[in-house]
């Protein structure tokens, strides 16, 4: 049995060195704990100094609107990641639902409410299938959801023929409002921002305040110990995938209502950013756990960098390199912190 050196000495035993090491400011520890915050603040300051447009309220509004679908996806992923699973199909669900809803409304003149309902049923169905395969059939989540992701991309292609479908004129105003409207009395931001914020609050309450959330983290920590403690591990893991499916549809609605179109494979570009945001969020937490506030921070971070570099006139290549570098940096800080623990 290994002695654990972090257990404090029993009372009365000598405590050498506790005086001197306490008084020194632990810079590395501070950086590893707050590294993501520090880098975010630094980025915001630098961008603001270089171009004052960056901190204009209009830019903030625009950027939050752009970031809303990404935030929704990232929040969904946070739930499955906390339980130790991956879901890659989320991008496929988003793409296929976006295409289906737009085609139903624009080409087939369906009432938008019905089209959205079909989308929600579709998303929940995909989530249930993923959950069934991963949780009950016990297939590995990474490869299983990669497979459903590929299938969904094919489905999307079948629906859209691989073309952009646009139809601002054919879309009811009420549907467009879900993407660009500013609901009374909250006219500061567009609907997707409010929807994403609501989703964040609900999932934050779920993950950090309820029994269900505690059980989900227990599953992520040790599924067998959780099962032997009487937690229904299979049902909760499956529920995670269903939540992801639902969230993907909400994101699809926000996206298509904002752009009044469906763009093929729209989800793919969001997929990697969503994972980056969730991992940034985990890096920002003290214990390295996936968590909702962290994910929100991660999304804001990624969007701030994208906006700042765009305003400064950098191209896509620099954008991608920067985002990748930020992720490496955040992980580096976390790893340094973990090594000291």
């Amino acid at each position: 049995m290994a002695e654990k050196n972090t257990v404090p000495a029993p009372p009365g035993s000598p405590k050498p060195g506790s005086g001197s090491s306490r008084s020194n400011f632990d810079l590395l520890g501070f950086i590893s704990t707050y590294g993501v915050f520090i880098t975010l603040v630094a980025c915001i300051v630098i961008f603001s100094v270089l171009d004052s447009d960056f901190i204009e309220i209009d830019n903030l509004r625009t950027q939050l609107g752009l970031a809303a679908p990404l935030l929704m996806l990232s929040l969904g992923l946070t739930v499955v990641l906390a339980m130790g699973d991956f879901d890659l199909s989320i991008a496929g669900t988003l793409s296929a639902c976006a295409a289906a809803i737009v085609v139903l409304i624009v080409n087939h003149d369906w009432p938008w409410g019905l089209a959205v309902l079909v989308g929600v049923a579709f998303g929940l169905g995909i989530g249930a299938i993923n959950g069934l395969l991963v949780s009950y059939v016990e297939m590995p989540s990474f490869i299983t959801t990669l497979a459903t992701f590929l299938i969904l991309l094919g489905v999307e292609y079948m629906i859209s023929d691989g073309r952009n479908i646009t139809g601002a004129a054919d879309m009811p105003d009420l549907y467009r409002d879900l993407g660009i409207g500013k609901p009374e009395p909250f006219t500061e931001f567009t609907s997707p921002v409010w929807i994403a914020a609501g989703l964040a609050i609900i999932l934050w309450l779920l993950m950090s305040k309820t029994e269900l959330g505690r059980y989900m983290y227990a599953i992520g920590g040790n599924p067998e110990a959780a099962r032997l403690s009487g937690i229904n591990v299979k049902a909760l893991r499956a529920l995670g995938f269903v939540i992801v499916g639902f969230v993907a549809v909400i994101a699809a609605v926000s996206q298509t209502a904002r752009t009044a179109s469906s763009i093929p494979r729209v989800g793919i570009s969001l997929l990697l950013s969503a994972y980056a945001a969730a991992f940034l969020g985990a890096a920002a937490s003290r214990q390295g756990l996936f968590n909702v506030p962290g994910t929100v921070l991660g999304v804001i971070f990624l969007q701030a960098v994208q906006s700042g570099l765009t305003i400064l006139g950098y191209d896509r290549d620099i954008l991608d390199i920067s985002r990748g570098s930020i992720l490496v940096l955040a992980m580096l800080l976390t790893a340094l912190g973990a090594r000291r623990r």
């Binding site: 049995m1 290994a2 002695e3 654990k4 050196n5 972090t6 257990v7 404090p8 000495a9 029993p10 035993s13 000598p14 405590k15 050498p16 060195g17 506790s18 090491s21 305040k209 309820t210 029994e211 269900l212 505690r214 059980y215 983290y217 227990a218 920590g221 040790n222 067998e224 110990a225 959780a226 099962r227 032997l228 403690s229 009487g230 937690i231 229904n232 214990q287 756990l289």
Partner: protein, 514 residues
């Protein structure tokens, strides 16, 4: 140039004034000791006494704050584990550090540079030959081509010892090497250790099982609170004096004496709480039937692989029950899974606290309340845990079980083994089960910790709970249990009660089955 000191007087390894501090803890406190060539030295002490830290320093995995090491009178400066390997120091850790997906030969020769052809391609035949040579010295029947993951735990330990031999080790440190080994395998291990000693290799044997220390070692080093408190020939010690060294207080009692002094007798005349009838499972459990009464402690013994763990897992529903019924308070448990058994009042404290008992990255508090969260709600109908209620419950259990933790938010990962085990116990006490099944609760727990766990089981029984206690150390069963079931190949083959419970009687049943 006349009288030279005898060879045995020149120590192999000298440890001088080694001190190691961690924040808030003096892990190793000015330890000086020397190890001669070709001796078997026992290293004992409670969890947290500093044994592992001292070993890590000798292994080059940790740097000492003060003091130095000498090998054959030459200063030994270790910066990383590889330096220790080169110096001829080999370590076999309790948690095996082999690679299951590689062959025995690859594992044995790992870190030595595989033999090559044309300077590029691994010469597999030569690799196997060299590995087989090391294995042959252990008189073990292990095919070098076999995958290590397919070997038994005992064979895997031998593979790790063979690696040390292949590295030309002069000092071999074995950390709890007998854990999960059968008696026969332990005998073979001892024979191996003695042969290595005869070849001039120094063996440091770390164990909590004092019988093994007395049987195998020639000298015993005892550590307590980071200090070396005894360094004596084994022959000058008896069990009582060794325990006194380890714990720092008088504490000598054999299992039979404990049984007598506690007045452990036959099963109480009370109602049956747990009734198991004809349980079978695909894990090798055949037609097991028994019952446990209120206030009774039922022991389950048997050799390694006799199906003790498998039987209680089937009873609890952790593994699927193919046949048979389980009743608690006369009510049959219909749901064949853990949550069903729990709501009926059954609890299983699993064998491996790290992989099955605790969520290691959860706090002490969250682990304690995990199985009873629905009783710590802010409002009875709202499934939201109340931090205040949780904290009260956790603090109460921490206090009652004397769990050594600075506060209830400490991560369980950071506690010692015995305290991690107490957190598992606390979780099930908090859950309020009527029947508690303890599967090997004292593995890796030191002398004092074991006694505390026996006390907890006795208190639970006194409160009217039914307790099932599984142990591979028969003396534990003798010291605590009213009645003992003996298993063999997944069947109950013997039952002892009251005065009939004794170590020889249990051993007799185990071995009369062959």
């Amino acid at each position: 140039m006349t009288a030279t000191a005898p060879a045995e007087a020149a120590p192999l390894l000298e440890v001088s004034g080694i001190t190691k501090r961690y924040p808030g803890v003096l892990a190793v406190d000015d330890v000086t000791v020397s190890l001669g060539s070709g001796e078997i030295v026992g290293l004992v002490g409670k969890n947290g006494a500093g044994k592992s830290t001292l070993i890590k320093i000798i292994a080059g995995a940790e740097r000492a704050d003060e003091g130095h090491l000498q090998l054959n009178s030459e200063p030994l400066d270790l910066h990383r584990p590889h330096d220790a390997t080169v110096a001829g120091l080999a370590f076999v850790h309790q948690d095996l550090q082999d690679v299951g997906d590689l062959s025995v030969a690859e594992n044995v020769m790992m870190g030595l540079g595989y033999p090559r052809r044309l300077g590029l391609f691994v010469d597999w035949a030569e690799l196997r030959r060299q590995a087989a040579e090391s294995i042959a010295r252990l008189e073990a029947e292990i095919d070098p081509r076999q995958l290590v993951g397919k070997l038994s735990v005992a064979q895997q330990r031998l593979v790790m010892i063979a690696r040390g031999l292949a590295q030309q080790a002069r000092l071999l440190v074995l950390d709890e090497p007998s854990a999960s080994l059968t008696d026969e395998e332990i005998e073979h291990l001892f024979a191996v250790v003695r042969r290595l000693r005869d070849d001039g290799i120094t063996v440091v044997y770390v164990s909590h099982r004092l019988e093994e220390i007395f049987e195998l070692t020639e000298r015993v080093i005892v550590m307590r609170n980071g200090q070396l408190v005894a360094d004596e020939p084994t022959s000058s010690l008896d069990r009582g004096s060794l325990i006194t060294h380890i714990t720092g207080h008088e504490h000598a009692q054999t299992a039979a004496e404990r049984r007598a002094s506690r007045g452990v007798g036959g099963r109480p005349e009370t109602d049956v709480v747990l009734e198991v009838d004809g349980v079978s499972a695909d894990t090798g459990v055949h037609d097991c039937s028994f019952d446990v009464r209120k206030g009774e402690i039922l022991g389950v013994g048997g050799l390694m692989g006799s199906g003790r763990t498998e039987m209680v897992r089937a009873v609890f529903g952790a593994d699927h029950r193919r046949e048979g019924t389980v009743q608690v308070h006369g009510q049959e448990i219909k749901d064949n899974h853990p949550s069903g058994s729990m709501s009926a009042g059954l609890a299983l404290l699993p064998e491996d606290r790290k992989t099955q008992g605790n969520i290691m990255d959860f706090s002490v508090r969250s682990n304690i309340t995990l199985a009873s969260l629905d009783r710590h709600r802010v409002r009875p109908k709202a499934p939201v845990p109340s931090p205040r209620s949780e904290k009260q419950a956790a603090d109460r259990r921490i206090d009652r079980l004397s769990i050594a933790t600075p506060h209830d938010r400490q991560l369980v990962r950071l506690l010692s083994g015995g305290n991690q085990q107490k957190v598992v116990i606390a979780k099930w006490l908090e859950q309020g089960a009527d029947v508690l099944i303890f599967d090997e609760p004292t593995i890796g727990v030191d002398v004092d910790g074991k006694e505390e766990i026996y006390d907890i089981m006795e208190e639970l029984a006194a409160e009217g709970k039914a307790v099932v206690f599984i142990s591979s150390e028969f003396s534990e069963l003798v010291g605590v249990c009213h009645r003992v079931l003996v298993l063999h190949e997944g069947r109950i083959v013997g039952e002892l009660e009251g005065d009939a419970v004794s170590e020889p009687a249990i051993v007799e049943i185990c071995y009369s089955q062959h």
